[in-house]
Symmetry: C2
DNA sequence: TAGGATATACTCACTGGATGAGTATATCAG
DNA sequence: CTGATATACTCATCCAGTGAGTATATCCTA
């Protein structure tokens, strides 16, 4: 795919998940090229501007795969942004993948929840605002866990 | 108060709400001074390093008040970070203030929720990932609303 | 049929939040 | 005696993100 098309597709398929400007897409693509995970081939076109066709390098494929299977840290926003994005790519790759990464993500959230609850219990009663903040984070994460458990019903393997 | 003390107090009272580095506190303070909302008076100390005593200017007091009474946009993270901070300052100022800003914040959240639900209903069924993302945001915001309604029980006026 | 909006495809200068390390002195605990 | 902690602040640097710009072709509409 070339940058322009990638940008368009992501921005329409995931526009309620995260927002990015076109120039920022190109910035990131430039950096990925510097890192050597994608490579660009210049293509001339008549009637339309030139474009750079982007392909994943071997290194890029390996890093993508690693990213795809690494659970997102158990924080509400990160899960909305990164986990849903992983799910998006997983769903395009195979029918069995989504449920696998859903289960692993749920497990990570359960671990984070335990940690947050422990931190909450350790907080002295007079730390009112820290308690309020942690309480909110815990509730958010519980909600996220419910949501994610519900999510697997959208991905059936047959 | 001077920068060092302000930094310490905020970072302990609100450490579960948001994190900031010491240098970033000073960065922000420098900017606030440039904007003319605070002014610094240099004080020499023997036995200890010099310090800058910071005071709110008239403009600063006005802007602080405006900020304090302006509901935080209805987004989960912003509410955790900014609303709890407003609540923190409100609680230090008067016993009746917290409940007032809690009620106004709750109202803002209800409005945002309506908006999100409408956007969700308008999304075509085939926009799976956008629907998942919006669904999660809606659940998060519902949770936030429950939390905030519960919060007022910690602030009694007598 | 002229004119303006939209689509294709990408570049670039700049801002501003955030990091992390550094500086200098005093005190306190082991 | 010495090494950690407290006081108090500075500074260079990075890098994500913005917004405007460029150039051409096609499509819609009055």
């Amino acid at each position: 795919m070339h940058g322009y098309e990638l940008d368009k597709q992501l921005r329409s398929s995931l526009r309620e998940v995260w927002r990015i400007s076109q120039s920022q897409t190109y910035n990131i693509l430039k950096n990925l090229e510097k890192e050597g995970v994608i490579s660009a081939t210049h293509q001339e076109q008549d009637k339309k501007p030139d474009k750079d066709l982007l392909t994943l390098t071997e290194k890029g494929k390996a890093e993508f795969e690693y990213w795809l299977y690494t659970p997102t840290p158990g924080r509400a926003r990160a899960i909305r942004v990164e986990f849903i994005t992983r799910l998006f790519f997983a769903a395009h790759l195979s029918a069995s993948l989504p449920n696998r990464i859903i289960q692993e993500q749920a497990e990570t959230i359960r671990t984070s929840l335990k940690d947050l609850r422990m931190r909450f219990d350790l907080l002295p009663m007079d730390q009112l605002f820290n308690r309020l903040g942690l309480d909110l984070r815990i509730r958010q994460l519980e909600t996220t866990l419910n949501w994610i458990e519900n999510t697997s019903s959208f991905f059936h393997e047959d």
